[in-house]
Symmetry: C2
Subunit: 130 residues, 2 copies
DNA sequence: CAGTATCCTTTACGATACTG
DNA sequence: CAGTATCGTAAAGGATACTG
């Protein structure tokens, strides 16, 4: 058994596990952290690395990750202005434990897709002949 | 560099990493998987283990995890009817790579909270004396 | 370049009531 | 017991235009 709780509250009114998991829940946070794995990137480079994220949402997520201490934001007042983002030690250590999950994903995506296909096929069968 | 892509598309129109990460994004999926770590649980037991999740949302999430092949659902037509959920091999292997993240969370939550407090304090300072 | 500002849609989630 | 049905809210995200 894990030495953890997943029940809603602790002394400070927030389950530690949930508080941290919330940092990587959502569509983009983890991808942003991963994009910075090999070193600092500028705003536009992060955007390019991910491909399909809007400026607004990227800014939001970067701010949130900065607030939690996973990355730093440094401004070089140009012109042109250049803002670069870099993982902190905390961020790097998070990415370290996060990477196995990413590798797992790459390895098992096939199984997941198959499971989905089978589940949906079975559901279709039930829908057609009720 | 990781042998992964986080760009939006692959041959099948979906990045493998994103597809799997989506399974554990959201507020509840990972907690549900963790609650089943030590063996099968009935619907009400999962609900109790998590504490604050509504029946509707729990059902939704269980269905989605079942669809992806992470857990199985077995019905014992009572009465009273008893439905139990259990991790598949796939689900167990996912939990294995996911657990380090949970332990990391328990370990580093203090650092994260401090970072948040400092960030918010700095933001307040800027708001008060603009 | 790295954002803001607006507006809008979608999705997740919450509350409550009802049922085989 | 393990759901479904309905209704409502809030948060996340998307599209587009504008700016120091």
């Amino acid at each position: 058994m894990l030495p953890i709780t997943i029940t809603p509250e602790d002394d400070s009114g927030l389950c530690p596990v949930r508080a941290v998991l919330a940092s990587v829940s959502g569509k983009w946070q983890s991808l942003i952290l991963l994009s910075l794995e090999d070193g600092a990137l500028r705003f536009s480079a992060v955007k390019r690395a991910i491909g399909d994220i809007t400026q607004r949402v990227l800014t939001e997520n970067l701010r949130s990750l900065e607030r939690d201490g996973y990355l730093t934001r440094s401004v070089d007042a140009g012109p042109p202005v250049a803002v670069s983002y870099e993982l902190t030690d905390l961020g790097r250590s998070l990415v370290e434990v996060y990477k196995p999950l990413v590798l797992w994903a790459a390895e098992h995506i096939g199984t997941v897709k198959d499971a989905r296909a089978r589940y949906d096929a079975a559901a279709d069968g039930r829908a057609e002949k009720p």
